[in-house]
């Protein structure tokens, strides 16, 4: 129980620290929303007036505390730019990013698990070298370039799928899927290529374990022994990597969102930073930080599910 309380405490402190940091950094950026809205040829008097209207002339700590008080009561503030509540902006964007990243990582696993296992089992044969070479290639291609290439082929030449845009799932499931296929595939290929190396080394380690030899000795073929006794043991080290990657992709998905014109969190954040839309920046980053913390907690929890040694239990017999 104390473990969970401590964890919650760490959650709170991390979020608080992150919020202060983001507030300070955003405030330190040259220019503010008033200037952005009025443009470069506005008179200083008009900029000052708008600033006062938005309350930007008041001291920074006061503005921070006001914002914090709002967050604690579920009010993340209102976008200076669109005059919409920040939560109303984040909600739909979060859905887009969640689908993109969730399906992308799932696709990456579907690529990396079989490929990595082949690379480990056949590491002294041409199949292993081929998988390694393809993985290297996948890692070397920048996301935006890979994305554009995919758009060019499947949308430009073949015309099978729309090149960009997004339709919410509830509006039209078919269009939703058609718009997501290419960005998800891009993310899956790029992340899958990175994952293959980790999957390979996790399974290569299993191959040298005594229990793998035992599995072979009771009559499993190499591939069967690896599937039967390797996957769960390899998973212990793999969930750590997948968790880290998930966090990285959540933030890094912005490139894919941009290439495919998906209105996700990254897109929202990028625009908000460009226009110094303080509360939107704050709210979006808070969500990202929270998501990363939740992912880490889930990773820690999954160790308990995967590895019985981590569960506290006494000796039997």
């Amino acid at each position: 129980m104390g473990r969970y309380l401590r964890r919650l405490g760490i959650f709170a402190v991390t979020l608080l620290g992150a919020s202060i940091l983001i507030f300070a950094v955003t405030a330190a950026l040259p220019g503010d929303i008033a200037q952005v809205l009025l443009g470069t040829d506005a008179t200083p008097e008009r900029v000052e007036a708008l600033r006062r209207e938005y309350g930007l002339d008041r001291p920074l700590p006061l503005r921070y505390l006001e914002w914090l008080g709002g967050v604690l009561t579920g009010n993340f503030g209102i976008s200076h730019l669109s005059r919409q509540p920040v939560l109303a902006l984040i909600g739909p964007s979060l859905a887009v990013t969640a689908w993109l990243v969730g399906l992308g990582i799932l696709g990456a696993l579907l690529i990396a698990l079989p490929a990595g296992m082949v690379a480990a089992l056949k590491r002294r044969h041409w199949q292993g070298f081929a998988v390694n070479a393809l993985a290297q290639l996948g890692m070397a291609i920048p996301v935006f370039f890979g994305g554009m290439l995919i758009v060019l082929v499947f949308s430009g030449w073949l015309g099978w799928l729309p090149p960009n845009g997004y339709v919410p799932l509830r509006t039209d499931p078919v269009q939703w899927a058609r718009h997501l296929v290419l960005p998800v595939a891009t993310l899956a290929v790029v992340q899958g290529a990175v994952l293959i190396r980790y999957v390979r080394s996790a399974f290569v380690e299993v191959l040298s374990e005594d229990y793998y030899r035992t599995a072979r000795a009771i009559g499993w073929t190499p591939a069967a022994a690896l599937l039967r006794h390797g996957v769960r043991n390899a998973a212990v080290s793999l969930v750590t990597v997948i968790g880290l990657q998930l966090s990285a992709v959540l933030v890094g998905a912005i490139v894919v969102e941009y290439v495919f014109g998906l209105p996700g969190l990254g897109w929202l954040l990028l625009n908000a930073v460009g226009q110094r839309d303080l509360f939107v920046i704050q709210g979006t980053v808070m969500f990202l930080v929270l998501a990363v913390l939740v992912i880490n907690a889930l990773v820690d929890f999954s160790y308990l599910l995967i590895d019985p040694r981590q569960r506290a239990q006494g000796e039997i017999g």
Partner: protein, 310 residues
């Protein structure tokens, strides 16, 4: 000595590793009749484990095996992995040295024993669980039902080695290869496990290849003992004769180091090198690596090359 219907017939077995063909086993020959037991003794690096793994077909991929390993008259070298897998854990099984790491840490031990059974017998009748508990009971684990539901880390070293023994015996094998099965256990547990092994081997009428670096341990399980040194068999004799009249100087050293009760108090303990010096060893190794020694190795399975490939 070897009759045509031998259970296992190893002839001129030579194992080399890697591109540089480092030789681990050189022209080893021996045979086993059904129910017969043979001990292999030697220091680490003498090639005894490699010999055992070659018989099981479990050598690493970079191993190059020549010679012949016949199982009931049929050549095993070069047989496809799928066919070898059908033998393993079924007709021939292996007990490994490290009970702490030889079991899958993420799986309940009962399931691991049952797996060895189901893999070869299937579980159409749902008898795997009952057979598992029966086996765990037979290897002297009290409260077998509860042990079956334990994870390996919840068991002691002796208990784990018994579980591994149950895994090896669950399909009633004709040959059980034991590779230092008691080395990792403390002495009292060691004696009990050896006694048990002797008992179950007799009950199952299984042949046994028993590997150890300890002459005293080997002689508890097997009457016949083969002494290996630097990948070669230097002597083969009944255990009691090895003790009373060891032939090879290396064996004399082994016996002297095993019979510490004969050393008067205060005297320096004997070492193998008192009997078999590094110089004489280097000499025989030089002979081993000369081209004449190589010429004698059978080439008949050269084209099959590796064992244990998929």
């Amino acid at each position: 000595m070897i009759t045509p219907r031998s259970l296992l017939e190893v002839t001129d077995l030579t194992v080399e590793f890697g591109r540089r063909r480092t030789r681990a086993v050189n022209a080893v020959s021996f045979g086993l009749e059904p129910g017969e037991r043979l001990g292999i003794i030697g220091e680490s690096g003498s090639g005894k484990t490699v010999t055992a793994l070659a018989v099981m077909g479990l050598l690493a991929e970079n191993a190059h095996v020549t010679g012949s390993i016949r199982w009931r008259g049929e050549e095993l070298l070069g047989r496809p992995e799928r066919e070898l897998a059908r033998l393993r854990g079924n007709a021939m099984s292996m007990v490994f040295q490290e009970p702490m790491t030889a079991l899958d840490p993420t799986m309940r031990v009962g399931r691991q024993v049952a797996e060895a059974f189901v893999l070869h017998r299937g579980d159409a009748t749902g008898s795997a669980r009952a057979r598992t508990v029966e086996m765990l009971d037979a290897v002297g684990l009290p409260d077998a039902e509860r042990i079956a539901d334990a994870f390996p880390h919840q068991l002691s070293g002796g208990q784990r080695q018994r579980v591994i023994l149950a895994m090896a015996l669950v399909n009633g094998p004709d040959l059980v290869i034991c590779d230092e099965p008691t080395t990792a256990l403390d002495v009292t547990v060691q004696a009990k496990v050896l006694e048990l092994l002797d008992e179950v081997l007799t009950a199952e009428q299984a042949a046994c290849l028993f590997i150890s670096h300890d002459l005293a341990v080997v002689s508890q399980v097997s009457r016949q003992v083969m002494v290996m040194l630097d990948g070669e068999v230097v002597e083969r004799a009944p255990a009691d004769r090895l003790f009373s009249a060891p032939g090879h100087p290396y064996t004399q050293g082994l016996v002297a180091t095993a019979r510490l009760d004969l050393v008067p108090p205060g005297e320096r303990l004997p070492t193998v090198e008192d009997y078999y010096t590094q110089e004489s060893r280097a000499e025989s190794q030089a002979r081993l690596s000369s081209p004449e020694a190589d010429a004698g190795v059978g080439e008949r399975n050269e084209e099959h090359g590796q064992v244990g490939r998929s």
